[in-house]
């Protein structure tokens, strides 16, 4: 690929790279246990947990690497890590 001076990339073009394929465990969100604190969306290293409504946090599995940080930090223990079947 030729690299010219002044080459630019579209902001946020990293979305082309689906890091979800790295995953070994995936997060399951249990709405009943959610306290609605939003810590998961704030700390997610991918920034891939969307707020869809009150106590409705939805991870984008195209990008979630399955690190489990959200599950570890959730004060309501509302996030479970399950093994991917591949």
């Amino acid at each position: 690929m030729p690299l010219n001076i002044g080459c630019t990339a579209r902001p946020g073009k990293s979305r082309d790279n689906r890091t979800g394929s790295w995953r070994v465990f995936y997060p399951v969100f249990v709405k009943d246990k959610c306290t609605g604190c939003g810590i998961c969306t704030l700390i997610c290293p991918e920034g891939c947990i969307e707020v869809k409504g009150e106590k409705e946090y939805v991870p984008d599995l195209n990008y979630c690497k399955g690190c489990g940080l959200c599950a570890e930090e959730c004060p309501g223990d509302a996030i479970m890590m399950e093994k991917e079947e591949k």
């Binding site: 990293s14 979305r15 082309d16 790279n17 704030l42 700390i43 997610c44 991918e46 990008y63």
Partner: protein, 293 residues
Amino acid sequence: MVDKTLELFECGHRACGGCGASSAVRMILKGAGEDTIVVSPTGCLEVFSTPYPETAWKVPWIHSLFENASAVASGIEASLKRQGRKEKVVVIGGDGATVDIGMLCLSGAFERNHDITYICYDNEAYMNTGIQRSGATPFDASTTTSPAGSCSMGNKHQKKDIPAILAAHGAPYVATATMAYPTDLMKKVETAVNTPGACYIQVHAPCCTGWGFDGSKTIEVGKLAVETGLWVNYEMIDGVVKKAKKVKRKPVEDYLSVQKRFRHLFKPQKNDEEIAKVQAIADRNAEKFGIDL
């Protein structure tokens, strides 16, 4: 006011799962806001966020050399000033780039007191090239250039005190923070970018790969650093320490024992004499900053 919903760092970047630095960068950008121009020297952040033609950044971003991020930021700030523009200029660089390689340019930028904010994400070694020790590597940590073994207990030097060095340049605002306390971090970034002059924040950013712990434990490890007194969160206004976070201190063992870089302190048997040296560092921190509850 910090807008927590602002997303300026996109999915698809290639940081390790659970990387403290990538989580920190999202928080930093929320604190800085969208009218921000970011400069990054070489390091994990630069590599995982911008494999050309991809970029995770949604703010203008420029990659400097390893050693000159502060000089590049100084030039951008001078140009913006000349044009009457108001964007914030923020450097986000690793500890190697900050405390060792970029020290000369960093000192120059703080001497000239450019209106920039320099943020060091401190993962305590040169991670992107394979975990070599830096001036920010803590005492006794095993790295590939300070390996623990029969003749060595790991890194024999103490962490360089860059916040104090930059405060001594006359910096109006110097702070330490950690990605384990997001609200505090975002607030400090907001304060720094809105303080005229050269400001500095050093952010503790646990690295699961380089420190040897599971990526799900990044925040737990970050909190333990604060709770043991090995990392102190404080703000320095015009060179005077204000607001150091107080803690009911835990023994340093609680922090050391969960990371493979300190494994030699516990195996083949526990080395109480060596752990006492690390405890002494925490005790000194506690006395210096008055953090004990």
